[in-house]
């Protein structure tokens, strides 16, 4: 019984993460009908942004609430900016092109982030460059050399995983005779719920949200109605990326290993969750994420754990075949 409850707790904390990432997918898809494959990598960037800020603030030795907040806000800002940039430079130029095209650029961006973060640090690269030049008997002009000296020596992080300092003290509670819950699980859940509710409000209560839905319904007409489509889409990207950052920090805080490809699998899974819940629907993404989290947990816990990944997708396929529009998705019969 305790074991089952434990699984429930685990599944919940896993599901909330999926849900948060899935929200990003679902919103972007909603307005752009584009599977933003780079989303998982935005999530990764979020984790690293948090990491660098935390190291700068020396969170590891002296964690505190204000610092934690700073880390969160900073990472969210970075990801927001990144999301905006990606949309602006990789997707917008192709908006009126076949969607496959932007899908490829999405993959391109994803690769760029993943492999870019695996490069040696700028300083190391600079030194290597200097080495080559000197190998040719050339030497760097003084100003350039000066620049070399100030290049960051731990960015890009390279492929070796980094340790993510705990943004705040970890507390573990044992409840109901043997079920272990940590304040991280609670905080994650709380934060996730808060953000989801906030998002729901944004989408259904604000002017921006209304515009967003209009764009997702028919961006052309929305444009004719004087809605600044581009700005709305940018906004959506920023929003989604910010959520990805939140998810990343919640994960990194309790599972403190971060590396450049940490976004790959969570990205795919979250995508599955989004589709499962009906891509384009906010509550769908939440439910999808939770369902996925639970089912993975239960499969791994009670059957052959190596089928864990398989089950996520098997489930997905089943749902799609039985209910192609997903749990909360709306049917869009093509008008003839």
């Amino acid at each position: 019984m305790t074991e089952f409850l434990q699984h429930v707790v685990n599944g919940l904390s896993l599901g909330t993460i999926y849900a948060l990432i899935a929200l990003g997918y679902t919103m972007v898809y909603g307005v752009l009908k584009l599977i933003n494959f780079a989303h998982g990598d935005v999530y990764m960037v979020g984790a690293f942004a948090g990491y660098y800020i935390a190291t700068a603030l020396d969170v590891e030795r002296s964690p505190s609430l204000p610092k934690a907040v700073a880390v969160f806000v900073g990472a969210m800002a970075v990801c927001g900016a990144l999301g905006w940039a990606i949309e602006r430079f990789a997707y917008r130029p192709l908006r009126n092109r076949p969607r496959l095209t932007s899908l490829i650029t999405a993959i391109g961006v994803s690769f760029l982030l993943e492999f870019g973060f695996q490069l040696p640090s700028l300083r190391a690269q600079g030194e290597a460059f200097r080495g080559v030049l000197e190998g040719w008997g050339l030497r760097l002009p003084a100003p350039v050399a000066g620049v070399l000296a100030v290049l960051p020596d731990n960015f890009p992080p390279g492929p070796t995983p980094r340790f993510f300092p705990e943004p705040f003290e970890r507390v573990d509670w044992t409840v109901l005779g043997g079920v272990h819950v940590s304040n991280y699980d609670v905080v994650s859940l709380a934060v996730a719920v808060v953000f989801m509710v906030a998002l729901q409000l944004i989408v259904y209560r604000t002017k921006f949200g209304t515009a967003m839905r209009a764009v997702s319904y028919d961006s052309r007409v929305a444009g004719l109605m004087g809605i600044p489509v581009s700005r709305i889409i940018s906004g959506t990207f920023v929003l989604g990326s910010v959520l990805a950052a939140v998810a990343a920090l919640l994960v990194a805080g309790s599972r403190p290993r971060i590396d450049p490809i940490m976004g790959l699998m969570p990205g795919l899974k979250a995508f599955v969750a989004a589709v499962f819940g009906g891509i384009g629907s906010v509550p769908g993404a939440m439910v999808g994420g939770l369902v996925l989290g639970f089912s993975e947990e239960m499969v791994a816990g009670y059957t052959v754990s190596s089928f864990r990944d398989g089950i996520a997708f098997a489930m997905l396929i089943l749902v799609l075949l039985l209910r192609p529009e997903g749990l909360f998705g709306r049917v869009s019969a093509e008008k003839v």
């Binding site: 434990q6 685990n10 599944g11 080559v132 390279g158 290993r257 993975e296 990944d309």
Partner: protein
């Protein structure tokens, strides 16, 4: 002529890229200039996953090799010939490894081929090495089939690491005889042949020694959440959990097991050996054991010197893979010194004749299966480092 324009763009982009990227190219391979083999130069070819999910392992190995080369060159090279290194990335894909191996052997005409970390990739390289008569030493591919395919020993392929059966057995013996436990749970990386191999041999040996495997769970490298499996394992309350994976995942596994209030020590293999394990694992990993080639607290100078030199050169403590890469290169160079001609069959024979070479990862002797027979040590994680516990002879 739009396609033409396209091609132009492509060419331009490539060109630009090529120039821009000269730096690392040259960095990774001081010998980049000398693709063609010359009598007064020795070229080492290394294939590793410099990008992708296992890049960190490829990188460490590459560093180890670099260090070995720089040390020899500093000493005036091998019989007066300087050593160059050419590293190719295989992105962790076997097919890439095969192509890279072909290029190194056929175009770059390397004297010796080093790599790969993962057996699956070494298995893709081995046939190429044999076909071209270029000796190949894999630093850390532990699957028996790498050196011995269908009962036949591959003529040109060697290794300086343990093989799965040995290390699995070591762990099993240690668990049964030294820790005196009888109930063990296994948590293996289903996507990783190294982990699967160790787990299987451990399982067999441990049963043979009269122990019982209470649970056999698996995860996938890169997972961030292992609580499901751990919770299941906890229900079976084993005395020890055998986790033959890489430190990248083990650190998290340790943490999460503690978070679930599990107190059992974890037991692992040389894949654990990295300072990252202690950094990420923190308190959680304390009191766990793993089999390894050496204990970093081993006072013997050859180990301490290596650790110092490595830190000096790369600013980080070497992990097991770096040490293996270093030894693989060292064994090759030692053989070259002895060989009449530092390439081809004579080098092959020289490597095969390696006996009691004092490597960082132990006294290496290449046996008739082209495997390194060397004792394994078992170390315990104490105070953020590994502490010698016992030595197990082959």
């Amino acid at each position: 002529m739009r396609p033409a324009r396209m091609v132009a763009i492509l060419a331009a982009a490539l060109g630009a890229a090529a120039c821009e990227a000269k730096k690392p190219g040259a960095d990774a391979a001081p010998a980049a200039a000398s693709a063609a083999p010359s009598a007064d130069r020795i070229l080492v070819g290394h294939i590793g996953s410099m990008t992708g999910s296992e890049a960190t392992f490829g990188l460490s190995t590459d560093n180890g090799i670099k260090l070995a080369i720089e040390q020899w060159n500093a000493k005036g090279g091998i019989n007066g010939r300087q050593i160059g290194l050419k590293t190719y990335d295989d992105q962790g894909k076997p097919e890439e490894a095969a192509v890279a191996a072909t290029r190194l052997t056929v175009n770059d005409k390397v004297n010796v081929l080093l790599g790969e970390v993962a057996s699956s990739r070494s298995l893709a390289m081995a046939p190429v090495a044999d076909a071209n008569g270029v000796p190949m030493i894999t630093p850390s591919s532990t699957n028996p089939r790498v050196t011995k395919e269908n009962g036949k020993v591959r003529p040109f392929v060697f290794r300086v690491c343990f093989i799965d059966p040995f290390q699995g057995t070591v762990a099993a013996k240690f668990a049964r005889n030294d820790l005196k436990v009888s109930k063990v749970a296994i948590l293996r990386d289903v996507g990783n042949d190294y982990s699967m191999g160790l787990a299987d041999y451990f399982l067999a040996k441990f049963k043979e020694l009269g122990g019982t495997i209470v649970d056999d769970q698996s995860y996938k490298a890169g997972d961030q959440d292992f609580k499901a499996q751990l919770t299941a394992i906890k229900g079976k309350n084993p005395e020890v959990i055998y986790v033959p994976g890489y430190y990248t995942d083990v650190a998290l596994i340790a943490r999460q097991s503690r978070e679930l209030g599990m107190r059992q020590p974890l037991l692992g293999g040389d894949g654990w050996d990295s300072s990252k394990l202690f950094e990420i694992g923190g308190k959680a990993i304390e009191g766990s054991f793993y089999s390894n080639h050496y204990a970093s607290d081993d006072p013997s100078p050859r180990i301490q010197d290596f650790v110092k030199a490595y830190q000096k050169r790369f600013g980080s403590t070497p992990d097991g893979l770096a040490a293996m890469g270093y030894d693989a290169a060292m064994v090759a160079f030692d053989a070259m010194k002895r060989a009449s001609e530092p390439a081809g069959t004579s080098l092959r024979d020289a490597i095969a004749a390696t006996k009691d070479y004092p490597g960082v990862t132990g006294i290496i002797t290449i046996d008739q299966n082209h495997d390194a027979s060397k004792p394994a040590v078992v170390v315990e994680v104490k105070g953020g480092t590994s502490v010698y516990v016992t030595t197990v002879k082959p």
